[in-house]
Symmetry: C2
Subunit: 164 residues, 2 copies
């Protein structure tokens, strides 16, 4: 099963695609959708939507896992990050209803086995699990791969992580 | 010039279309995009995107004015409202780059001439300016019409209200 993991953001949206089979996961590809403050806000959102749709057509994921956001520095940041997240969710929802989400703590627990794990430990485990030569860069892409792996690990229990 | 005004929201997104000519504005139509908490979040966002695109094709607005959000009860609300706003902005950005935004205070100032005006006064003025028989319902639709009128009133100065 092809799983797309997404760590949503306005400036950097990380994505990672894995192929998950019972007991074995293979990395297909990862990357980021990048926008800059030089672009107008509507232009940034439009770009995120277009690149998301291109990713979906390219990798044809059967299930998509998002990082669940519940924190932001302030309301203004939340409105902007929420917009980028909304655009990427809407693009995915037009493609499939198999959308799931995991909190950062659930990702830590699934990958390292401990909810208090540090980012570096997650990245090392992701590298090991997928037989990668280097840790994925940037962090947002590494996080996205970790989210896809978390979804694979959820297995039969994944129904409870369906996006509400 | 056909102007589309939008008061974005997740449960209720108000919209109003006016035809603006120098010194004269005519109401074309108004309404709401409604979603419910019974729907999953991705389904709600998808619906907002689809209905927005249908509105754009139906009314072919030359310029689009949004209410600028900068307030929300809390970060969670901001993430959800921001998502709905993001999806509607992205749909508009795929259609045109003529996107503008106005704060509630700018709307009050433009319509009633006083930034501290009450919602009821705005709605009465909108009704009068557009020769409507009744105040537009619900409030979100009335607000959207007021935003479109505010954009019409901005005239040559509207460049400064371009969405950044």
């Amino acid at each position: 099963m092809v799983i797309l993991g997404i760590d949503p953001g306005l400036a950097t949206l990380g994505w990672g695609v894995i192929e998950a089979q019972p007991g074995r996961q293979r990395l297909i590809e990862y990357g980021c959708i990048l926008t800059t403050p030089n672009q107008r806000f509507p232009e940034r959102l439009k770009q995120i939507g277009e690149e998301m749709r291109a990713l979906l057509q390219r990798f044809r994921p059967e299930e998509i896992a998002f990082e669940e956001l519940f924190f932001a520095k302030n309301v203004t940041t939340a409105l902007n990050v929420g917009a980028a997240r909304g655009v990427s969710i809407a693009a995915c929802a037009e493609y499939t209803d198999q959308l799931y989400e995991y909190t950062p703590m659930q990702v830590k627990q699934a990958i390292v086995g401990w909810g208090g794990a540090e980012k570096k430990q997650i990245q090392q485990m992701v590298k090991m699990l997928l037989h990668m030569e280097e840790i994925a860069k940037p962090d947002d892409a590494a996080d996205a791969i970790a989210i896809a792996l978390t979804h694979a690990a959820a297995g039969m229990a994944r129904g409870q992580f369906r996006m509400k």
